[in-house]
């Protein structure tokens, strides 16, 4: 397996959805090729960090809740 093919299949390798032969080929390639292993390592970090964002809102600057509520009421007068 060459680098281009390996890089193309990294997400599926990560998801474990490839055929067994391809899984083994990529695993072997990543063990031998440090640049591709770096890409895979970073991808795993990105996915893990993304998963931690699911219920996290601490990284978000929220607009003013009351102001948005007033806008909402103005857009729909009957809410009052």
């Amino acid at each position: 397996m060459d680098c281009a093919k390996s890089l193309e299949l990294l997400s599926e390798y990560h998801a474990g959805t490839l055929e067994e032969v391809e899984m083994l080929e990529i695993r072997a390639h990543l063990q031998a090729c440090s640049p591709c292993a770096d890409v895979f390592h970073d991808m795993v970090l990105i996915v893990q960090t993304a998963q931690s964002l699911c219920d996290a809102v601490d990284t978000i600057a929220f607009p003013d809740e009351d102001a948005l509520w007033r806008r909402l009421c103005a857009a729909r007068g009957s809410l009052h």
Binding site: E8, D42, I46, Q51, E65
Partner: protein
């Protein structure tokens, strides 16, 4: 013997109770729903759109839509799940309306991803913090961003995403992969810029 302590327990109404009251015209109940869920709705809109002003407008649209549809909520799923799906659908509809294709995009409507292999820095990629990732997500092309947010953050599978977006599961997989690679490049760029500043 100590005097008995009478505890007053003020139980919060459930979302379902509030939804029923709101559907019956109780404006205070609807406001309570808004207060409970505004942050989650806004966060989802922001992540999917990458633009605070647009996310604010969409949040307003979601709650207006919710106001009109709240009577259809039957409590068969959790209210938060139902509202989440309502929000995702609203954002997807908005993205379709927007026709966001720019001149720089490829036939697939996305900018090509160049994979940067190797690192100048022996410590490899800088540790990704959530803020850096949020910033990079906002810079993704809309199609990549939508799939990445729905799959990697919100946990939808490719078949669900394909149904919601009117594409194929293969397209969803391909866009997710390109999104991850592009995010990697964006995060590396951020780190390089930070080192030079």
């Amino acid at each position: 013997m100590k005097g008995s302590v009478v505890k007053e327990v003020h139980e919060q109404p459930t979302d379902l109770e509030l939804a029923r009251r709101a559907a019956a015209g109780d404006a205070a109940a609807f406001e309570e729903i808004y207060r409970r869920h505004f942050r989650r709705v806004y966060a989802l809109c922001l992540r999917m759109l990458g633009n605070p002003a647009e996310a604010e407008d969409l949040t307003q649209e979601v709650f207006l839509n919710l106001y009109n549809k709240i009577g259809t909520f039957r409590g068969e799923s959790a209210f938060s799940t139902w509202l989440h799906r309502l929000t995702v659908n609203q954002v997807l509809m908005h993205l379709r309306r927007k026709s966001t294709r720019s001149e720089q995009t490829t036939e697939e409507g996305e900018t090509p991803v160049q994979i940067v292999q190797g690192t100048e820095d022996p410590s490899r990629m800088p540790i990704i913090d959530r803020i850096a990732l949020e910033k990079a997500i906002a810079q993704l092309p809309p199609g990549y961003r939508t799939v990445f947010v729905l799959h990697d953050i919100e946990g939808y599978d490719h078949d669900e995403i394909a149904r919601m977006m009117g594409t194929s599961s293969g397209t969803s997989k391909s866009q997710l992969h390109k999104a991850r690679l592009k995010l990697r490049n964006l995060i590396r760029q951020q780190a390089q810029e930070a080192t030079h500043n």
